[in-house]
């Protein structure tokens, strides 16, 4: 790096720190100031609505667009691939390895981080440099509309955000009313094949399964994404196997279960696929996955009822 570059960068840094100091001296009561509490229960005060937002998680990017704040996002992290418009935005590294200098140089007035994805040191660093940092951590489906509303507040697009939030709430309620209390379907959700990974009840996907009247056969395991073996699945004998894989296509490994006809799901041909973007990301699109899963599990439910009927009539 040549000296002139270094000087410029130092100057820039000073400028940004100065801006931060200025921010912190303003009182929350000041006109136009916005106050929100993030998922870490920290109160954040913005002197005015955010106009230059940087998203540090693919799911945050998506929620910002859903909240109507898409045009205020100036940069995102890698793999922010939805909606289409987000792909064109500048990148500030992967969510585990943030390019702090690049973030600074884009002069954001709000950075939205992700507790379980970003390095806490990096977020602290950004705060020290005077940038307002809002941190998300979605543990429950119900948090998604709340987050939308808060994003709307911060970006001054509350109306759009509230509309999206309300729609999310009503669709979710509707699904729950329709499916949650129907006959329980035992579900094995397969995150990956090698290694064989599933989810426990702490995972958001577990809530989607329960909303659809399913029961995750590995809900009680200790880790959020436990590694298991084939035998465990044979023993659990799920009524349906649901997998997401990596892309928009049904993973080939889902068919490896066909070797095991003793599993009810295999016997009844209940191997279901949901695109990962529709269920593994904590965004509005999770409802697409939920709707699809509910239909799939309902199909399983019907088949199960039929076979019980058949057995009943055979006796």
């Amino acid at each position: 790096m040549n000296p002139s570059h270094r000087t410029i960068r130092t100057a820039l840094l000073t400028l940004v720190i100065a801006m931060g100091l200025q921010l912190s001296f303003q009182t929350p009561a000041e006109a136009g100031a916005i106050q929100v509490v993030d998922d870490q229960n920290q109160t954040l005060t913005l002197p005015q609505p955010a106009k230059r937002i940087i998203s540090l998680a693919p799911s945050v990017t998506e929620l910002l667009y859903s909240a109507g704040a898409g045009d205020k996002v100036v940069a995102v992290v890698q793999y922010s691939d939805f909606p289409e418009a987000a792909k064109a935005l500048p990148r500030v590294g992967g969510y585990t390895q943030l390019d702090i200098e690049r973030i600074l140089s884009l002069q954001p007035d709000l950075v939205i981080g992700w507790q379980s994805g970003n390095q806490p040191e990096a977020l602290d660093k950004l705060r020290q440099l005077g940038i307002p940092v809002y941190i998300t951590e979605t543990r429950f489906l119900e948090q998604i509309p709340d987050t939308l509303e808060r994003f709307g507040q911060m970006a001054d697009t509350f109306e759009t955000a509230a509309r999206a939030a309300n729609q999310f709430r009503s669709t979710l309620d509707q699904l729950k009313n329709q499916y949650q209390d129907k006959n329980t379907v035992k579900v094995f959700y397969q995150v990956w094949s090698q290694p064989l990974i599933t989810i426990n009840k702490q995972n958001l996907i577990n809530q989607v399964i329960e909303a659809c009247g399913g029961q995750n056969v590995f809900a009680e395991l200790n880790t959020i994404a436990p590694r298991i073996d084939v035998e465990a699945v044979l023993k659990a004998n799920p009524d349906a196997i649901v997998a997401s894989g990596m892309g928009v296509e049904r993973p080939e490994w889902l068919d490896e279960w066909l070797k095991w006809p003793s599993i009810n799901a295999v016997k009844n041909d209940q191997l279901h696929f949901i695109p990962p973007g529709h269920i593994q990301r904590q965004t509005v699109r999770v409802l697409l996955g939920a709707e699809r899963l509910c239909r799939q599990l309902d199909q399983t439910r019907t088949l199960m009822a039929d076979s019980v009927d058949q057995q009943g009539s055979a006796q």
Binding site: G94, L196, T223, R227, D229, V230, E231, L234, G245, S262
Partner: protein
Amino acid sequence: MTTQSLETSRSYSQQQKLKVFLLLGGLALACIASLVLALLTGSIKVTVGELWQLIQFQLGLSDQPANTLSATVVTELRLPRALSALVVGAELALAGCLMQVLLRNPLADPYVLGVSGGAAVGALLSIMAGLGSFWVSGSAFVGALTNLLLVFGLSHASGVWSPSRLLLTGVVTAAGWGAIISFMLSIGEDNQLRGMLFWLMGDLSRASLPGWHGLFLLMSLALSALLARPLNMMLRGELQAKALGVAVYPLQITLYLLASVLTASAVTQAGSVGFLGLVVPHILRLSIGSDHRLLLPATALAGACLLLLADTLARTLIAPQQLPVGVITAFIGVPVFLWVLQKSNRGTV
């Protein structure tokens, strides 16, 4: 000179042969016991009776097939995995033992010359390209062979060849692979990362029936029986071995190739399962001495047995959750090694 010492020494070769018989027999029995244990344990309950019935049926002694689910679980899941564990364990322990003599360094393990690094880069590339497990294994093997040729060529490049030169070349090449692996991990996508890390940790869950790997192991054991006595000579130094009539350079080349290909075969099946190749040869050296005619087969059997036990524990200890087998090999190996070291009166390792 006392008559007593003459008597004890007189029986030396009989003693050795008895030792061979007892030790190898005992270890073989331990392997069989571990195999039975591995076939009996798991999430699905399989009783001894069912297993016995299944064995009889498979051997054609009985027409009565066992309970179908337990039968399939045993033949399709547990048996291939258990046999792989035996083969991989034997290969790694044997390779470690050979590598230690070749490099005349007690700290050498099968991975020290970068074979696993080359294999890992191959496997990770395939995983990143989204290819299936056949391609992952295949490219791991190609990676391992690439490393073999690369290290061999580089250590010969200047014309002067010595084990220490080989060691340096290998260690630096391994570090190079390590850097490439870190780079690939840092640019990998989340879902791929899981598979990549999993491969690097070493695991037997994707293993199928060992097939040609098993055949190769048997051939290597036969070859190592030929090498055993010259290897004993090598322990006293290259020149001493040469003075006693060992063709040192051809022997070193054979050792290098054999140890590398054994490691390549093991890594292809199970990723880099750590620790086994370092500790098993040492435990045996400390407890039975350095006669390779006994040491090599004993090491192979002990490695096989240890990895199978470790893998059975890895998949059942906190079942249905799985542990990486390398963690268990270390948990078993470290205390056993330290205990043997404390007890040993053989001193220097």
